[in-house]
């Protein structure tokens, strides 16, 4: 059961919406935060319903996205504070967590969060082995061993001088 806090008749009523994750958890979100997502904004413009069900975002990921949206909707925070929040937000997060996050930003169309997460994923990826990348992105290697060796030979200097990581 979710309740919205009613203000007095003279205060403008702060509108909220309820967003439900694919595993059934419900989150109360201010409309000002929700509309930072282009998809949610469209839904809210089209229907009066205050309950939005997201069939492909789990509760943990949704909680993170909502924390992000609420912070960015807070007019009391300076841009500098929001920027440092963004840095904190992605720091220390596992690649797996970031994968779900970036997919959620795609579904919800939250461009600035998508860029922040993509940057962090790139930072993690940059020193990884090709095999690691194939695993994480679920990619089949469609090269013949000869063709792959040929590409590696072309810019051999890009491979030799750093320790590439596989975990």
């Amino acid at each position: 059961m979710v309740t919205t806090d009613e203000k007095g008749p003279l205060t403008a009523k702060k509108k909220s919406v309820i967003i439900r994750s694919c595993d059934g958890d419900e989150f109360l979100v201010s409309e000002s935060a929700a509309v930072l997502s282009t998809s949610l904004k469209k839904i809210l413009e089209e229907k009066e319903d205050r309950l939005i069900h997201l069939s492909d975002i789990d509760n943990k990921t949704l909680a993170m996205v909502i924390a992000y949206l609420s912070t960015h909707a807070d007019d009391g925070l300076s841009d500098d504070l929001k920027r440092s929040f963004d840095q904190e937000f992605v720091s220390g997060k596992e690649f797996d967590v970031l994968k779900y996050l970036v997919l959620a930003t795609d579904t919800l169309q939250v461009t600035c969060l998508c860029y922040t997460v993509a940057k962090k994923m790139a930072d993690i990826m940059k020193n990884k082995l090709v095999e690691w990348v194939r695993r994480e992105f679920d990619i089949q290697n469609d090269y013949t061993p000869e063709a792959e060796a040929e590409i590696r030979r072309l810019d051999a200097w890009a491979w030799d001088d750093r320790q590439l990581e596989d975990d």
């Binding site: 860029y115 994923m121 790139a122 940059k126 990619i139 590696r152 200097w157």
Partner: protein, 370 residues
């Protein structure tokens, strides 16, 4: 060591007029999906934020990654993301170093500005004989133009270690003829261009001008340079135009050459530049949004005159390369500081370039899918 007499900074309306943008073509040719668990747009967003070196390796991930990373649309998008990165993660300072003799060194601009220990890379590019003079003509959109022995011009992308020798110009140096040059990007035609102005000590203008287009891969003659005599060795590139400080019958002016329309224009001098114009050792430095005229005491000292380069940093500071000096200048407090470069005295003539995959060869298609 720093004995600059003045730096004049003023708002210049013409440089505000056009902010270059790169139009993105839609990604259309991808046949296979890039990942079975991610939409292609997401994979592209992540890959545009990777360093060039990682991207060169990740061409091995799959054929569809190879074709994405090699596609002109992706290369442009990657360049644009790198250019816009406010942390300067993909920006490099490239310098000519006297130690080792006449070699290029590069530094991460990000580390340099944040006073972290700066490791440098000595680029494995040599011109054969280290006694042959080298000079950086300019840097723009991921590409660096270098003059070797004042005769051979080279377009070079240090981040992918590829270069291209421009067709040879017969300058007949030693017979009173010499060349002034400039390098920039023509956004309208999506083309890198090099300009060569030919001088003779026996003649005071107009001067013959050739322009090299990377797309056409050839030099072509354009309208002569009639507006006085350019003083700087290399024109300074800002927003689609090259600019030279010129001497017209003893008066200074700034003349620009639009790389798209190939038209010259007199820009006029800065209104507050009066006190600098009596000095015979004036050189022009330009950056986006603001123009600077720099009056230096180094000219007579025999250092490298007319080689001022500067970049406006997003914290308001200016990175300055002048002769054999690289400093960071804060115009608000009028303070100079040295970047934390080891062996800084051996560094001269720096320029900033951004890491990119752009290739100086026009027909570099051999890596595309068979």
């Amino acid at each position: 060591m720093l004995i600059y007499s003045s730096i004049l900074v003023y708002n210049h309306t013409f440089v505000l007029a056009c902010q270059g943008t790169i139009t993105m073509e839609a990604e259309s040719s991808t046949v296979h999906e890039l990942s079975s668990s991610f939409p292609d747009e997401i994979v592209t967003e992540i890959l545009t934020r990777l360093p060039v070196k990682s991207l060169l390796r990740f061409r091995c991930v799959s054929k569809s990654w190879l074709s994405l990373i090699s596609s002109p649309a992706f290369i442009k998008m990657h360049l644009k993301t790198a250019n816009n990165d406010i942390m300067y993660s993909h920006h490099r300072l490239i310098c000519i170093s006297a130690n080792p003799h006449n070699h290029f060194r590069e530094f991460s601009l990000r580390f340099l500005l944040h006073e972290a220990a700066v490791g440098s890379i000595t680029l494995n590019y040599t011109v054969g004989n280290p006694d042959i003079p080298i000079r950086i003509v300019g840097s723009c959109n991921g590409m660096v133009c270098v003059a070797i022995d004042e005769e051979n011009l080279i377009l070079w992308n240090p981040s992918i270690r590829k270069y291209k020798r421009l067709p040879f110009l017969h300058i007949r140096s030693g017979s009173g003829c010499y060349m002034k040059d400039g390098f920039g990007f023509d956004e309208f035609n999506d083309d890198y261009k090099v300009v060569a102005i030919f001088f003779s000590i026996f003649q005071y203008g107009p001067y013959k001008v050739l322009i090299f287009s990377l797309k056409a891969n050839k030099w072509r003659r354009i309208e002569d340079f009639k507006n006085g005599m350019p003083l700087d060795h290399s024109g300074k590139y800002v927003n689609g135009k090259l600019h030279w400080l010129v001497d017209i019958d003893g008066c200074m002016d700034i003349v620009s050459l639009d790389l798209a329309s190939e038209r010259y224009e007199k820009m006029g001098v800065p209104h507050n530049a009066d006190n600098g114009f009596d000095d015979p050792c004036l050189t022009l430095g330009l950056f986006s949004k603001v123009s600077t005229l720099h009056n230096s005491a180094f000219w007579n000292a025999g250092f490298y005159p007319h080689m001022l380069r500067l970049w406006l940093l997003n914290n308001g500071e200016i990175l300055l390369s002048y002769g054999c000096v690289i400093v960071i200048y804060n115009p608000k407090d009028n303070i100079y500081r040295y970047p934390p470069i080891d062996n800084i005295a051996s560094i001269h003539q720096g320029d900033v370039f951004v890491e990119s995959l752009v290739s100086p060869s026009v027909d570099d298609t051999r890596l595309h899918e068979e």
